[in-house]
Homo-oligomer: 186 residues x 4
Amino acid sequence: MRITKEPEVRRQEILDAALQIFGEKGYEKTSIADIAKAIGVAQGLCYRYFPSKEALFDSVIEQYASLLAEPFAQYEKETDKPLRQIIEEMPATIEDRDSRYYALFHGAENAKFHVLLSLKLCEKLVPLAERILQRARDRGEVSFDDPHTAAVFCVYGQLGALQDDGLTREEKLEKIRAFLAFALHL
Amino acid sequence: MRITKEPEVRRQEILDAALQIFGEKGYEKTSIADIAKAIGVAQGLCYRYFPSKEALFDSVIEQYASLLAEPFAQYEKETDKPLRQIIEEMPATIEDRDSRYYALFHGAENAKFHVLLSLKLCEKLVPLAERILQRARDRGEVSFDDPHTAAVFCVYGQLGALQDDGLTREEKLEKIRAFLAFALHL
Amino acid sequence: MRITKEPEVRRQEILDAALQIFGEKGYEKTSIADIAKAIGVAQGLCYRYFPSKEALFDSVIEQYASLLAEPFAQYEKETDKPLRQIIEEMPATIEDRDSRYYALFHGAENAKFHVLLSLKLCEKLVPLAERILQRARDRGEVSFDDPHTAAVFCVYGQLGALQDDGLTREEKLEKIRAFLAFALHL
Amino acid sequence: MRITKEPEVRRQEILDAALQIFGEKGYEKTSIADIAKAIGVAQGLCYRYFPSKEALFDSVIEQYASLLAEPFAQYEKETDKPLRQIIEEMPATIEDRDSRYYALFHGAENAKFHVLLSLKLCEKLVPLAERILQRARDRGEVSFDDPHTAAVFCVYGQLGALQDDGLTREEKLEKIRAFLAFALHL
DNA sequence: TATGAATGAGCGTTCATTCAT
DNA sequence: TATGAATGAACGCTCATTCAT
């Protein structure tokens, strides 16, 4: 039984399955056969869309980090709220979409996948955060010299705080908000 | 020709070789055979000391992160300098030892190794930074509510800033110092 | 040079080679590489057809025991001869096909293989023998209470007698016939 | 800590542990290391007592089959009861000692071990059974031509009957007794 | 007699990748 | 575009066995 689909559709199908399975089992323990089987397709077909397993993996990380960053990018583009309010709302915004896949990312097996993805996401969030901080500075809400470094600290510091064990997600977010308000002198 | 060594010595020998090679080629492209060959020993011997390749890898990360954290731990234990001065000196201190192995960590192949190691290092640095911040607060130099979260942001923010491309190491460090002084209200 | 075959054909090819080599060298001393090499095929291919070496071995035993039992199954289905005559003819019938592979089964190396196969064969022969004895009883030729146990003794006793050393095959068969006639009160 | 023992004691200690573990895990999945560890001894020591793993295995089978046969050998040497009574008592006699280790022999893993041991045991029982039948014939209780073949059928038939599934041990033994009485014309 | 670190060869297995169809 | 049998290279790992102590 041979089902033909639009190349873009097939490509996305492979990416979706790969995300799922890489997320569950990690890079090494996932085989191309696993991915192909998950969408009911011949192994060879994956190689028409991605030159190698590693390239597929990188595409997955790239695309999924973008997906996770997207709602925040939207938010950043549209908002002109005061920074204090943004900090209040931001984490919730980010997590909206995240939570859909959140379950995947906390096994023992896939810790490395999680880490790689988180870092990629940070990379994408930094310029957004930087723009927000820039505008806040332009409006006189804050007064640091270097919005880029400030953005880096905000984003990666948040990563670290979320990584931290021992608290509920909600508690972590509350602490993040409090510290950001302090550090940015709001 | 059979050379017998003290178990601890052999174990460390394996760990050292593994660090070297994992750092050069990354986890997957490194085989146990590579490591064994590097120290002129039978493959099987590695399995007397580590139950699996993954366990060996984890031990390498663990030990090397400790090694990198050690000088800073020393520094933290002995110092009672004002926070401002610590920030001035700290990065240099950390990098002393780091630089010895620094060359290993920036290939394209081993990015994942680097990332994992950095994160492990951050884990180890957070409690040290926390203690320093605590003491500074006790001395009235700073006034945040939550030294733990502050430490997390300092350490992970620094990670992000060092990860950032496009600047020399020295420039990055300068920006880190500046932002820390600002964020901690010094 | 890549030769593709029908899965069933390939599967059988592997089974045949495996029988040959397991029979010659025994389970442990046979490697999958040996089997693959014998049919000029990549090792990995064996794992498309059998999930493990042990599963392959079991399939070999199973299939070959069936093969050896088959002529006797034929015979059982068609015959309605008196029991006395069946005993006279039976061993010869069984051994027809057996002898084709007989050479394989008497090295020192493969004793275990032989034993396992023999036992499997006995398992398959018992129900056939039971049916024969049942019919003989229905015809009043014999008069035991429990045809199943009788069949078990006939089949396994024969196994023991053939296993026994020191006589030619023909002599053993003659003794088997004589004892069966006696034990069944013919 | 180095404990020296009489060679014979050590040898037996190794045999006992090997029986235990071969019985549990089967030949292949048992390593010399397992056996050595079980008695708290260095691997190398096993090689002072047995030239190879296979030799150790064979010794285990040999010795344990003898152990199992021993009570029946005793019985055979001392008894001059009528055959009918021997048949009544025999199975119980055999199983006395057997049952001590019986638990070991019915996993899926060690089926092959069980089979090999059973066959070895049969080998050892045949001459005993033969002597008993011989004496019974001398006393005029039975009247077959060939006591050897009769013994073979009795012993191996019993093996098959015990191997058979679906009945309790007690039921099997009852059927064996009944058939033997019939087959030997008692 | 006993140790246990070390060997070294090999094995089962996996899998990314290819290619004839 | 899609299949899936086939490849081939390697890899993690095991283990019987040895040997310096």
